[in-house]
Symmetry: C2
Subunit: 403 residues, 2 copies
C-alpha cells in the first residue's frame, strides 16, 4: 500500500442525471467518513464549473438520515454541468486543487468526465503533485468502455421495461401502431432493454431499432406492415439516435426536411419530432401498404422520465452505484495509480460483480456500442443473449396476467 | 331486497385503459363467483364491440392466481373499444342480451360507458325485460360526476407526481426551463396532481396550467420569465387541453398555424406538438424578455405511460377499483334500479370511503371540471385544498433529499 497522503477531497457530479448518481455520492461520503487522511470532503456544485468557481459544500459528517434520503433521490444532488473542460479549463481545476490542498478527486460521470479526470490527473503527475483521481461511472446509456455495465443503466432500463410492458397491454387493449422513442443518441443499450418486456411471441415490442443497425424508411414501413398484418397491432421501440440507410440520424434528417418545408416560426425540432414523424409514416405509407386501412397510430417519447423518475430505481443498480462510490475512495486511499471504477461479472449462473480499477485513458471519451450478438440478423430486434446480460440489472419485473 | 333474477352476466371494459381497470374486472369476477343467480359470467372482448359481435370468454371460475395477475396488470385485459354506441347500436346490444338470457351487465368505463349503460337499461325497462345494469367508473381524468373520485385517477396521479418529483430534481441539477405536458383534454385533475410534488417554495412545478383556466401566450411568457428570473430555473406542468385566451385549445391553435405554414408532408400533429411549441416560445420570447439570455429548454409529453405504466399503481386506487367491481355485483344482486357505483368520502381526518349507487343519467356524458377552489387566483397554480383532496389517493410518495 502506497503512503496515504493527507489533504482534502473533492467530489462532483457531471452530465445527464440518473436515478442513482446520488447513491455513488453517498458511497463516497460514507467511505470518507472514517478516514483521517481526508480532512475535508468538498462537494462541488455543478461539477467542474463549481470547482473553478470554488463553490463547495462540506460533506464530511453529513447526517446519516439526510444522506440516505439524498441517495434515494434521482438526479445530481450537488448539481450537474454540461461543461466539457479543455486543457485550460483543467488547469483552472488543478490550480483550485493546489490552493485548497485537494489530494483526492472523485468525479461521477460519463466518458467526458473520465476524460476530465484523465487530464487533471496528468497535470498533477507532471507537476509532481500527489493527487489521486477516481472516475465513478454513471450513465443511463451504458456505453462506457471496460466496465461490464454502468451505474444508472439498470434503473433507466427498469423504467423502460415497465413502460413498455404496460404500453404493450395498452396497445393490445386498443389495437393500433404505437411508437415509443427511447433515449440513446449513439448506443442502443437502453432501447434494447425494451425487449425484456417480452414474455411470449405476441408481446411487444415487436420491432426494436437501435443506432447500431441502420433503419431505412422502406425497412421501417415494411416491418411495421408485416407485424400489423400478422397481429393486428404493432409496438415499436426506437432509439432517438437511430440512423437511416446512409448513416444520417433520423432526427437530423427530419430537421432538414422540416426546415426546407416550413415557412413559419414552427420548426419540427424538439423532443417529440422523431416519434411524430414515424407516426406520420405509418399513417400514410404503412396504411397504403395495408390497402388503405385506417390505422390508429400514436407515438410517445419517453424523455427525461427515463433517467429521473422518482421512487422506481433498480435495487441492484442502487447497490452497485453505492459500491462504486465506496470503491473509488478505497482505491484512492490505497494509493495511485488513478483510475475509473469498473465492474466485472462473476462467472457462474448466479449474478454478482467484483470491482476493479480501469485506466482513465481506456474509459475517457470513447463509447461502447451494443455488440452485434445482441442485435438480430434482420436489424430490427434484440437477441436472447442481451436478455441474459441485462435482466439481472433491472430487478424484479411486474407480473403480467392476460385473458 | 328485490327478487333475484336468474340468468347470465356480461362484463366489459371501455375507453382509455388505466392501471387498475383490471382490478374492477377482478372485483366483478370475485363477487359473482359465489352466486347461483348468475349462471355464466361472460367477458366481452373489446367492450360493446365484442357484445354485438358475441365475442365472449367465460370468466366464472377463473383461476385465482391468474385473476390476481390480471388484476395487477395495467390496461384492459378483455380489450377495450372507442365505440360510442347510439340507439341503434344499443338495440344490437340488447338483442344479444335477450338472446343469451343476460340479466346482469357490468360496464367498466367513463361517462360514455355510463351513457351506453343508461340507454341499454332504458330499453330493457321499456321491453319489460329484467336487466340490471351497473356502470363501474374508470378514468385517469377523474372527471366523472357524482363520485368523489374515479378509480384509475390515483394511479395516474401517482405516476405524474413521481415523474415531476424526479424531473424537478433533474431541472435543479441542470437548470433551465422544462415543460411537461400531462394528459387531460377537458379537465385538469391529472395535471393538478403534479402540484403534489412540491414540498417547499423552490420545488417545481413552479407553474401549472389546466384547461379550466385560460393561458394566453403573454401570460405564459411572462410567468415563465418571472419564475426563471427569480429561481434561475422553471418547471412547468401543462394539460394537453389547455386553452388560449379565446377558449381555443392550444393543440388546435398549433395545428392550424402549422397547416398554414407548411408545404411538405410533415404536420405538427401528434403527441409532441404542444410541448415542442411551448419550448419554442420559451427559446424565443421568454429568452428575449430576459435580455436575450440563452436558455436551456426541454419539453416532455408524458403520454400513455401515465395510464399504463406497469408495477406502479397506487395501492389505495387498486383497492378501491376492486371494491367498485364487487359493489356493482352486490348492488345488481340486491335488485334494481340500475346505477353507477360512486364513492363518498367519510368525514373526519382519516381517509376512507363508502360506496353508493348513483343514477346512470347523472353520470352519463357529463364531465366534472376541476373546481375553482383548486386553482389559484392567478390561474397558474394549484391550491392546498386540492392537495388535501388528492394526496390520500396516490399513496406514499418517494422521499426527496436535497443538499
Amino acid at each position: 500500500m502506497s503512503a496515504v497522503v493527507k489533504g482534502n477531497a473533492v467530489v462532483g457530479q457531471s452530465g445527464g442525471p440518473t436515478a442513482v448518481i446520488n447513491q455513488s455520492l453517498a458511497g463516497v461520503v460514507e467511505a470518507v467518513a472514517g478516514h483521517d487522511a481526508i480532512d475535508r470532503l468538498l462537494g462541488a456544485r455543478n461539477g467542474v464549473r463549481g470547482i473553478v468557481e470554488e463553490r463547495f459544500i462540506d460533506l464530511k459528517g453529513l447526517e446519516a438520515d439526510l444522506l440516505e434520503r439524498v441517495a434515494q433521490t434521482p438526479a445530481a444532488a450537488l448539481g450537474s454541468t454540461r461543461d466539457k473542460p479543455d486543457e485550460e479549463y483543467c488547469r483552472g481545476i488543478f490550480q483550485v486543487f493546489e490552493k485548497n490542498n485537494v489530494r483526492y478527486f472523485f468525479y461521477i460521470g460519463g466518458n467526458d468526465s473520465a476524460d476530465t479526470a484523465r487530464i487533471v490527473n496528468d497535470m498533477a503527475k507532471q507537476a509532481g503533485y500527489d493527487l489521486r483521481v477516481f472516475h465513478i461511472p454513471k450513465t443511463i446509456d451504458n456505453d462506457l468502455k471496460v466496465t461490464d455495465h454502468c451505474p444508472g443503466y439498470g434503473s433507466a432500463a427498469r423504467f423502460v421495461v415497465s413502460a413498455i410492458m404496460g404500453d404493450d397491454r395498452d396497445n393490445a387493449s386498443l389495437p393500433g401502431v404505437k411508437i415509443d422513442v427511447i433515449m440513446g443518441r449513439h448506443a442502443g443499450w437502453l432501447t434494447a432493454a425494451s425487449s425484456l418486456a417480452r414474455r411470449d411471441d405476441t408481446d411487444g415490442p415487436h420491432l426494436v431499432y437501435v443506432p447500431e443497425a441502420r433503419m431505412s424508411e422502406d425497412r421501417f414501413v415494411n416491418d411495421v406492415a408485416a407485424v400489423y398484418g400478422g397481429l393486428g397491432r404493432c409496438l415499436v421501440a426506437v432509439s432517438e439516435g437511430v440512423e437511416d440507410e446512409t448513416g444520417l440520424a433520423w432526427g437530423e434528417r427530419i430537421m432538414q426536411t422540416s426546415e426546407r418545408d416550413s415557412h413559419g416560426n414552427i420548426q419540427l425540432s424538439g423532443s417529440g419530432a422523431l416519434g411524430d414523424y414515424l407516426a406520420e409514416l405509418v399513417k400514410t405509407k404503412v396504411a397504403a401498404k395495408l390497402g388503405g386501412k385506417k390505422l390508429r397510430v400514436r407515438a410517445d417519447t419517453f424523455g427525461y422520465l427515463q433517467r429521473s423518475f422518482a421512487g422506481f430505481a433498480s435495487p441492484v443498480d442502487q447497490k452497485e452505484a453505492r459500491l462504486a462510490g465506496r470503491k473509488a475512495v478505497q482505491y484512492a486511499l490505497a494509493g495511485r495509480p488513478s483510475g475509473s471504477v469498473a465492474f466485472r461479472r462473476k462467472p457462474g449462473p448466479k449474478y454478482g460483480i467484483t470491482c476493479f480499477r480501469a485506466k482513465l485513458a481506456d474509459v475517457a471519451r470513447q463509447t461502447k456500442p451494443l455488440p452485434k450478438e445482441f442485435i438480430n440478423a434482420a436489424g430490427n430486434g434484440i437477441t436472447d443473449a442481451f436478455r441474459d446480460y441485462a435482466l439481472p440489472l433491472v430487478g424484479k419485473l411486474p407480473e403480467i396476467g392476460k385473458l
